[in-house]
């Protein structure tokens, strides 16, 4: 998060709408890295991530007149990219749910914690081993599609609750519910991981 103080130059929406190429280049410069990262996270494949990246900016270029300026440009780009990524996923596995789909139990009961193992007491160096961090990535990857996307936007990309809700076109309350589910589910996977890994060791009480 430490970016030596220099703010990126502001982008003029009027100039973008007027077709100013330099402004568009600036928009690409300031956002392409995040968009690529998001797509890579969702799709888990570099070629697909690149396709989504290109398609996102092609669409942004084409549809800039439709952008109403109520959200941030970056939020709008995230939204285009998320939809593109989901479209690709659906092409790959036709049974993938849409992010707006409510057939999954959004309002149903939360899954109760199954695992009660107190791995929170583990020393920092064991907790933060590169193996563990790699497992965390895998566990995020394994979340159900829409929990995963919610989680990545909010927790990995650091969007605010409102911004993430705008990207997914859901209410802030629904966003919070999904985030809560994603976190509890990750907690379960991590508990399983630590339980297996440190079996036999004495945990703090």
């Amino acid at each position: 998060m430490s970016q030596n103080g220099s703010k990126p130059p502001p982008i003029s929406l009027e100039a973008l709408k007027a077709g100013d190429k330099a402004q568009f280049a600036l928009l690409v410069e300031q956002n392409s890295n995040q968009i690529y990262r998001l797509a890579l996270r969702i799709l888990g494949n570099e070629q697909d991530a690149e396709d989504v990246l290109q398609e996102t900016f092609i669409k942004a270029f084409r549809h800039i007149q439709d952008f109403d300026g109520r959200s941030r440009l970056s939020t709008w780009l995230y939204r285009i990219a998320t939809n593109e990524a989901l479209m690709l996923l659906r092409k790959r596995k036709p049974d993938t749910l849409s992010v707006d789909d409510t057939t999954e139990t959004d309002d149903g009961e939360l899954t109760e914690p199954v695992q009660i193992v107190d791995w929170a007491q583990l020393p920092e160096d064991e907790l933060l081993s590169s193996e563990t961090l790699a497992y965390v990535d895998q566990a995020i990857e394994a979340l159900p599609e829409r929990l995963k996307i919610t989680f990545i936007l909010r927790e990995v990309e650091g969007l605010s609750t409102l911004e993430a809700a705008e990207v997914l076109n859901i209410s802030e309350a629904a966003l919070k519910t999904r985030l809560s589910r994603a976190r509890l589910q990750l907690r379960e996977s991590l508990t399983e991981y630590f339980e297996g890994r440190f079996e036999g060791k004495v945990y703090g009480t």
């Binding site: 190429k21 330099a22 568009f24 280049a25 600036l26 690409v28 410069e29 392409s32 890295n33 690529y36 990262r37 890579l40 996270r41 570099e46 690149e50 990246l53 290109q54 900016f57 092609i58 270029f61 009961e109 939360l110 109760e112 914690p113 009660i116 193992v117 107190d118 791995w119 929170a120 007491q121 907790l127 933060l128 563990t132 961090l133 965390v136 990535d137 995020i140 927790e155 990995v156 919070k176 519910t177 985030l179 809560s180 976190r183 509890l184 990750l186 907690r187 991590l190 508990t191």
Partner: protein, 86 residues
């Protein structure tokens, strides 16, 4: 494991609780419950650690490869701007 009704009711608020964004009355409920429910204490502690671990994976270190950036600028007809910034 106790399948306590209280535990279940508080579960949905734990995520906001560990963020410190839960409403005050809910925080009070949770803290009262945690005082005598060991299971939920463990869930809260490990949930907090889960959030901490995720934030330790430093995903911002993933950077788009230079060739990907080059191809993007080419597709968008922005080659003239390839060397500005970045």
């Amino acid at each position: 494991m106790a399948h306590n009704e209280n535990c279940r009711q508080l579960l949905g608020s734990l995520s906001e609780y560990v963020d410190g964004t839960a409403e005050e009355s809910i925080c009070a409920d949770i803290e009262r419950h945690l005082a005598d429910c060991n299971n939920c204490r463990v869930v809260v502690d490990t949930l907090r650690r889960t959030v901490y671990l995720v934030r330790s994976t430093r995903p911002e270190e993933t950077v788009m490869p230079a060739e990907v950036r080059d191809r993007l600028y080419k597709v968008l007809n922005l080659e003239d701007y390839l060397n500005s910034g970045g």
